[in-house]
Symmetry: C2
Subunit: 283 residues, 2 copies
């Protein structure tokens, strides 16, 4: 049993007996066979900075040309991958379609939506909804004042859990053993001078957050941006996430964030109550 990090998979066991016994398991998930290799390709294309052509892919993936070619062909046939006019690869449009459904079909998002809107009305600042996915927070929704900044710039994006309000709030909803297991795998990159430095600092911070029911991001991810956040969770904690009110520090003082804490906490509590009702044990 490799790691006890994932507890949202209790229903379906995912670790199968490791056939390739001494194989290097870098980071990527318990053997998912052909599918795993396929999404590995997608991942490379998704993560890539510069345009990736066949040769570039080959270099990163390390598969022989014949094999890679077929994998890529299949992905293209399925619409998950595209060839740009300049023969570089891009993610396929089918992923957009899937995501549109994933988003609109997401029960958490649906339930949280009105509460986010209310919170935005009350504060006038940007409100986020995010859920924890392993070591990252994925933003599911966003309500903001000026539409100038595009919604898509955030939705679906992932940020580290240890330096965001939503991330720390989400972690605070997990049992400490679980947090410790995850923390051990975190690469604590120092984004700003306020970024938490290590697992110990995170653990201490989380204790405070649990006590208060509120998490602050004090410019820990991006200089000049801070936020108040509160945790939300499903009845069995298989999902944990959070909501936050984010603002630029030059305009909104820390004191103001603290003043909003009650509203944020209340909104989160309301969401949790709704979740309990609509997704609870006896839903």
């Amino acid at each position: 049993m490799p790691s006890a990090g994932e507890d949202m998979d209790t229903w379906i066991e995912q670790d199968r007996t490791d056939r390739t016994s001494g194989a290097k398991r870098t980071r990527t998930s318990p053997d998912t066979g052909t599918l795993g290799k396929a999404v590995a390709v997608l991942d490379v294309v998704a993560q890539a900075e510069r345009p990736m052509r066949f040769r570039d892919l080959r270099e990163v993936i390390g598969q022989p040309p014949g094999t890679l070619h077929r994998q890529v062909s299949n992905l293209i046939s399925e619409g998950l991958l595209q060839v740009n006019p300049d023969q570089s690869y891009g993610l396929g449009l089918r992923l957009l379609q899937f995501a549109a459904r994933a988003w609109s079909g997401n029960r958490f998002r649906e339930i949280a939506e009105p509460h986010l809107a209310a919170l935005h009305d009350k504060t006038g600042e940007t409100v986020h909804l995010g859920v924890l996915s392993d070591l990252e927070v994925i933003y599911l929704d966003k309500v903001e004042s000026r539409q100038a900044v595009r919604m898509h710039s955030q939705i679906g994006n992932a940020s580290p859990c240890y330096c965001t309000g939503v991330g720390k709030a989400a972690l605070s909803a997990l049992p400490t053993e679980d947090v410790e297991a995850r923390a051990a795998r975190i690469d604590f990159h120092r984004h700003t001078e306020h970024t938490l430095a290590d697992a110990a600092a995170l653990g201490a911070e989380l204790a405070d957050i649990r006590a208060a029911g509120i998490a602050y991001d004090r410019e820990e991810h991006e200089t000049g941006i801070h936020c108040v956040a509160a945790p939300i969770w499903s009845h069995d904690r298989s999902f944990v996430g959070g909501i936050s009110v984010t603002a630029p520090s030059y305009r909104i003082a820390m004191a103001q964030l603290e003043h909003w804490a009650d509203d944020v906490r209340a909104a989160a509590a309301a969401i949790n109550a709704d979740i309990e009702i609509r997704l609870g044990p006896r839903a």
Copy 2:
């Protein structure tokens, strides 16, 4: 060679010698093996109206329990699928992450963006960017006045090509043989009383559109909504799409749309020029 419909796959041939010789090929893509089965599962979950539990999936997919279970397990491990608290399946968050990248990394969208904004400034109405994907239009971007309507409600969504402005514009950029091949596969559902009834009507309409360089949707998809659209394309027509200005007919008269036609055509021409420069043969 089964069908001449897909010409955006010339670079990578996707039809492999059919091992299962007399197999029924309903509609889904030329044998993509394990991957194909996996996305078939995703598709079922995505398309599903009611919540799908294991049993429901099994019924639709028609795979034996053991097999389906492993496929589902793998999808879950990869984050492409999730189990909701009520043990129904939903699309995974990883799809959101991929989509965020697919969107921000899309060259077409990137190039078109400023032109869409300009067109919106000029008209004050909602502007769309969509690309043709087989028989459907997938919306890549949207600029609208009131932010009340959520962006996500459209982005990534697919609409039929035969009853939307963008769709008809896109088709008009394809060679007639190609259009005919696709038209033969279209199910001409009568969304409104103005919806084109069959392939012949579509063909005639497309001739007009080609001549004018402008397509109208005269409440053909949704009653009370009409639009002006113009085609855009890549140098080799491997991608075709369109941009449109959409408005409710009660507020904006047809005459006004016709008045905007020149602007729409000009914007599309500008996008095409940009594409030629930045994605052209000698990019």
